[in-house]
Structures are given as C-alpha cells and as structure tokens.
Amino acid sequence: MEPVLKALALRLDAMLGPDRVITDPVRLRTYECDGLTNHRSTPAIVVLPDTAEQVAAIVRACAEAGVPYVARGSGTGLSGGALPRADGVLIVTSRMQRILEIDIPGQRAVVEPGVINLDVTRAVRPYGYYFAPDPSSQQICSVGGNVAENSGGAHCLKYGFTAHHVLGCEVVTPDGELVELAADGPGYDLLGVFVGAEGTLGITTKITVRLTRVPETVQTLLAAFDSIEAGGTAVSAIIGAGVVPAAIEMMDALSIEAAEAAVRCEYPPGAGAVLIVELDGPDSEVAAQFAEVERLCRDAGAFEIRIAADDAERALIWKGRKSAFAAVGRISPAYLVQDGVIPRTALPQVLARIDALSAESGVRVANVFHAGDGNLHPLVLFDDSEPGAAERAEEVSGAILDLCIEHGGSITGEHGVGVDKSRYMPRMFTDTDLDTMQMVRCGFDPAGLCNPGKVFPTPRLCGEVPGVRKGPHPYEGKADIF
C-alpha cells in the first residue's frame, strides 16, 4: 500500500476502532463492485462508520491526505455509481441504520442513510403511511443510495422520484463539514441538485423523507396481448383517456419466459406481452377509472385480463415483474441491463427498431419497461464464455441508447449514469451543458475527491474559472450586518 494510504488507514483506525476499518485484501475485494459487475475495482480501504460525525471526520481525513473516496449504501446500484477507487477509501453506510424520528402529524420521518428503503415503509405502515419511491431493489437498497441516485420505481409515474419525497438532508460536504440542505429553505435549492448527483457532491448522513398516505384502494390488473404493439396501444389509450395510473408496466415474451422460470408467476401462456396496470387512490375514483382501463385493454386486443382480488394475488402479479432482472439469469449466462427513456408515444417505433437491431446482430434482447413513462429496460443477453459476445452485446446496448437519444429521450431513467454510462453523456449533452453541470461540482468539491470519475466523461478543472478574485471575498461582511 502507498505510504499515504497506509498513514490514512492508521489514522482512520485510531479514529473509528479496528473493526470499522478494513484493509485485508481478501475482505476488500468483496467490495470491488456494486450491483453492476462489469466494472470492478478493489478499494484501498473500506470504512464502516456508525455516525455522521465519523463520516465527517473520515472525509476530512481524506481531504487532508488528498485521497479520493466513494460512498456506498447496500451496493445494489446498476450503473457502477459506487464503484470504489483503487487509490481511495470506500465509505460504507450500512451500519447507519437508525430510523431517528417518525412524525406522522408532519407526514415525515428522519432516517440515517443506511436504512433500507422498505424498512421506512415497514416502520410507518401501522400509521397508514409509506415511503413512495419503490425501486425494484427496495427490500435492500438504502435510502442514502436512493438520494444519490434519485431512485424511481414502478410507481414514480404517479408519485414522482426520490427528489419529490426528500424534504431535507444533512450532508457531509467534501471539505468535511456537516450542513443541512432543505427543499424549502432560503437560498438555492442545493438539495434539489444534491439528490441525484450520484454521490459526487457529498455524503448524506441524515435524510428527512416525506411520508405518503396509504391509498384507500389499490387495484391491479394483468392484461395479456399477442404483441408488444397491442400492449403499447392500450398504454396510449389509457394515458389519452386522462387516467394517471400508479404504474403501467410491460414485459415482452422473452422476459415473461425468464420470470416464469424464476418465480412461476403463471402469466397467461402464449402472451407476446403482458401489461400490469395499477390504479390507487380513493375508492370512488379508482372504481370508475379501473372499469375504463379494463375496457381500454380489451379494446386494444387483450385476450386475457386478470384482476387481483387481494394483496396476495397482487403480489403474484408483481412478482414476475419485480424479479425480471435477476430472473434473466435463468435464460442467459450473462446480460446487460439498459435504462433508456423515450417519449412514451415513440414506444412502437423504438421497440420495432430494437427488434430489428436484435435480428441483425443475432443478439437476443428481452424487454421489461415502465411503459407509462417510456422507461425501457432492455436486457441484452449474451454468453460470456463465447469470445466477442460481450462486445456485440455492448454494441447493441449502445445502439439502443442512441435510439433513445434520437427520439428525444434519455440514457438513464433511474439507474444513474455512474461509471457505466458516462461515456454516453456527450451523446445527450453538449460540452457546454456538461461543463455547466460541473460548475456545481466545482462549487461543492473543487478538489475532485468525492466519487471522482462518475457521471461526467471528463472532469472540469475547477481552478480554471475565469476572473478568479484575489483578496477578501466580495460577500464578506454582507450577511453579517444583521
């Protein structure tokens, strides 16, 4: 180990105690990747702090030593956002697991970053509340990770993303200070840009989340269609009718096959596509709209419609969808997951183009997507033992993202850019756009030590700001007159 890292490890050890600092190579390697395994890098040091003050002290120690650091929650990210640095420290928040406050009258809760998403809901459910963001990994992903990634989930169509459900964060800034960022305070909405910055602006140590009232009714149906096109027609008809479902999800034949193999979800046999539509809200609203959704599905050619009679049946309908990613492991030795977004109305064209891409290249693509908001999760299948297969899959995967951009969409709807998609950022944004975003980063982290190498393909040199001033800061004294 480099002397500077060795010294840092000793310092961290003295600060946190030996069982909070990992330097053993075998143990370190288990942290080499998050939920995305095609990028790996073993960190030099892993630390497991218990408190916000410890996180701040760790960041200060890193800043003083000039050592980069990366924060990690449960390690379930799908863009390599928590990929460690071989020359740096990995700060793992999984021990910071306390739910600090539940304020039902104020419809909010305060949690530590390592608290698991679903545990927030479990804690407030007895009061008739839940935490709305529901990424597929909600049973294990951490709220801190949700903040970093601005996580969505199947139900963000109606309820929005993590950014809409976080009211405030206590943050350790890259200079090691603890500050409070609020959605609704005086000054810039720094919270708004911090959420979704993929851990490049600091590390959150305490999160105030908004709690959402459990809807009076939830109604879920599964509609089976001959083709994706027919399913797409149903989606357009539903949205066109002014219905705002809690979720609309679609799976194609290949992903249905995988889910069936994994969890025996028993979707209608022979379906070319299944659509899951969930409505929630007051009884009277849902009843009226649900009948309409059912009719629209039939009109679009659904050959079978199942309506969940209770929570168990609803869970079974969702089971296939929620396990789809991991389930693809049953039908293919390896796969890449994409996360492109297109305007929903472009679904038919884009799916046809993906089909064509798949046919031309001989690379199988399974499609699972949040149809309501045009968020595609093409699963590009390949056999990693076959030479060149990974490269071909990568090519198809990149071509799909190009399609998304071409149709005015985005390269990522919820997984984040991380290290995996930073190379596609210049296809979506101009140099000026990226440079402007990085101005924020330079404001927060001029030394570039906080999760470097993520989001942006090339770092901005923060020192190159035109007109850098010398002497006292022009604001000095101004705010102090009161």
């Binding site: 104020g106 993303f161 705002v244 009843a287 985005s410 390269i411 944004f429 923060c462």
Partner: protein, 401 residues
C-alpha cells in the same frame, strides 16, 4: 463600441432604461428584449464582454421581491420569448419559452385537455419568472412547486453560452438537475430561456369543501383530519381568520363521493362549492409579504403568533407546510422585525423559517429578509462558479449573492 450599440447589433429590441422600470429603485441603464434563444445568448455574451450587470425580467410580477440589486446595467426582458415550443400531449409534456405568461400557456394546454399543475397567484406571471421565484399556489399540496414540475431547462450562462439540463422525458436522471437548482434562484445563476414541464390531465370534475374553524386548535384538527384521510385532496388551504378548504379533483362520481366523505369528517359548518373560497390562491393582503415554511404540526403555533401580531395581519397556509403572511401598511421597521423574529422563533422549533418577499422600501433596508441560511458558504461557492464576476442580479439574493 458602446454597450448600447454592441447590444443593438445582436438584438433588434434594445433601448435605454426608463426611471419607472427600476428594480427596487435601481434604474436600468439599458433594456434588451431578445426574441430567440440565440439572440438572448448574444445579448448575454455582449453583456459579459462589456462587464454589464444583468437582471432578467418577465412580467415584473415579482421583480420587487428580495433585496435591491447593487447595480443594473442591463435589464433582459423576456416578453418576446413567448412561444409554446412544443406540446407533446401524448407524452404529457410541454416546452415553453421563458416569457410566455402562464395563463396563455394554460389556455393552449387546455385545448388538449391538459394543464401545468401550477397556480398563478399573480396574474401575468411568466414561465421564467415563476421558476426563478419558485412560486406556486394551492395545488402545491399534491403537485409541489416548479422544482417538481420542470423536467428540462435551458439557460444562458453569464458568459453567454447556452446550457441545457434534463430533457423532454419525465423520467430522467442523466446529469445534474439544474432545473431544481434554478428554481427559486432569483436570476442570480443565469438567464432562464425555456423550460419543459410535465403536465397532467385537466380533471373532469372538481369541488371545494370549505369548513369554518374557530381558533388555532380547531384549524389544526381540521387540517390533520384531511391530511390523514384517504380523500387525497389536490389542495388543502387554511385562510385566516378561520377557513379550511380542500380541493378535490377527479371523475364526477369520485369527487361527489369524496366531498361527501370530507363533509362527514369535518362536520358542522362545512360547505361544498364549485369555486375556491375568498382569499384562496392569492397572496394575503398587506405591504409586507412573508413566506413561511411551516410543517403541518406547527399550524396552531403559527396561527397563535399571527393572532398575537394584531389586527390587519393576513395569512394563508398550504397543507404542504408552506404559508404566506401579509403585514398591513404603516408598520415601522422595528414592528416588522419584531413580527419576523416572533415567527422565526416559533417556526424554528418546527424546523421551519420565514423569508420576506417584499416590504416597504424603508422597512426592507432595515430587516433581515432571509433569516438563518444554512449552507450559505456552499451557495456562495456555487454562485462563484456560475457567475464569477457577480454580474447576474447582484445583491438580490441571500447573503449578498
């Protein structure tokens, strides 16, 4: 070349400023009204070359908010940037230029049965101004503020370069969300030139359920009853001195049933009406407007403080935990400062705060408009990056930014 001439070369609507165009008494030397994003960029580039300080202006509905600028060499007026660039109704998305008034936008969207779920407390407000002020009305209970509805933003930076963030799809986490950063930034980070919003269908039925309450405790109880009920109101407002009102939106049968549920829940003096009750959706009367962050549990304390401030103090509050207080004219700076500090004391205990939007000029210069600003150092550093020469709305914002 003189700034006026240099600007005239790139923009065909440039003139010298009039005294009545003053921003809180600071008269602009020049006014430019670019008609396109490209023209706006050129104007900003010239301003950078000439070292001009720049203040963006929309419909002037909130130009009197905040602190007076240190200087104003150039007022960039956005009224010619008034196009609805795209309304992709199938995708529930619209892109509009900064100078488009929200009411005009609403009319256009309504043609396709859609809306931007932002109220317009001040008639005439533009897209850009509303975002820059982070303004919203009663619908914020369900839909939030501009930060929740802007999905793409184009700005012209201090150096005249055009930068975009977000896009035209709702679900998008590529890159930093500058839309949220610019929401409520008072024109201090850049010139907003267009924005893309997520839209919602216009509900087929609406109803207001209005209940009269007597005193802070009753108000608190009524608000809590509605918040924890399953009726899911789009808006929940308290309007002093004693009205709690909830807006229900949805399908006709649903709205009728939910309104019935609410009447039962609130009991007694409850009415169902088509229109919002008086005072709902507008800023409260007064010459000083205070914006308060006040989570629901603080409502009774807040009402208590407002009552203690004496007659003529008006107040509205939204179930999202945000309110406005209007102080009557004729109060001295000490009296306003006293009111502010009473509010901050009480709200501070609830993790809330109070910010003065406008006040009479003599009062404004004597009081702390913003209150405590956590993370001010970080804000200054961000400002320094976007506007290293401090030419954009200088001095208009927190901590002298």
């Amino acid at each position: 070349m003189q700034p006026l001439d240099a600007l005239a070369k790139v923009c065909d609507d440039v003139r010298t400023g009039e005294p009545e165009e003053g921003v809180l008494g600071v008269q602009p030397a020049l006014v430019a009204a670019p008609a396109s994003v490209a023209e706006a960029a050129e104007v900003m580039r010239v301003a950078a070359e000439k070292g001009l300080s720049v203040i963006p202006r929309g419909a002037e509905t909130r130009l009197d908010w905040g602190t007076p600028p240190e200087r104003c060499d150039l007022l960039v007026d956005t009224h010619r940037l008034d196009k609805l660039i795209e309304h992709a109704s199938g995708d529930l998305v619209a892109k509009a230029e900064a100078g488009l008034p929200l009411e005009t936008l609403a009319e256009r969207l309504e043609e396709k049965g859609q809306r931007l779920s932002l109220d317009v407390p001040l008639p005439g407000s533009t897209v850009g101004g509303t975002i820059a002020a982070g303004a919203a009305g009663p619908l914020r209970t369900l839909y939030g503020t501009p930060r929740n509805l802007v999905i793409g933003l184009t700005v012209v930076r201090a150096d005249g370069k055009v930068a975009r963030s977000g896009g035209k799809v709702v679900k998008n986490v590529a890159g930093y969300d500058l839309g949220r950063l610019f929401s409520g930034s008072y024109g201090t980070l850049g010139l907003i030139v267009d924005a893309t919003f997520r839209l919602h269908p216009v509900p087929t039925a609406t109803a207001w359920v209005t209940c009269q309450v007597d005193g802070p405790q009753e108000a608190h109880d009524a608000v809590q009853a509605v918040l924890h009920s399953p009726v899911a109101p789009s808006a929940l407002e308290y309007i002093a001195p004693g009205t709690v009102a909830a807006l229900l939106e949805g399908v006709p049968d649903g709205v009728v049933a939910r309104a019935g549920q609410l009447v039962e829940l609130l009991g007694g003096k409850t009415d169902i009406t088509e229109n919002a009750p008086d005072g709902c959706g507008a800023y409260p009367d007064g010459t000083t407007l205070i914006d308060v962050t006040a989570p629901p549990p603080s409502l009774s304390d807040l009402i208590g403080v407002v009552n203690s401030l004496g007659n003529g103090v008006a107040m509205t509050w939204n179930g999202s935990g945000h309110g406005h207080i209007g102080l009557p004219s004729g109060l001295s700076a000490e009296e306003v400062a006293g009111a502010l500090s009473a509010l901050r004391d009480v709200l501070g205990r609830h993790k809330g705060g109070a910010v003065v939007r406008y006040a009479p000029q003599d009062v404004r210069s004597e009081i702390d408009l913003w209150g405590p600003v956590p993370a001010l150092g970080l804000m200054r550093r961000v400002k320094d990056q976007f506007d290293p020469d401090h030419r954009l709305s200088p001095g208009r914002f927190v901590g002298g930014i």
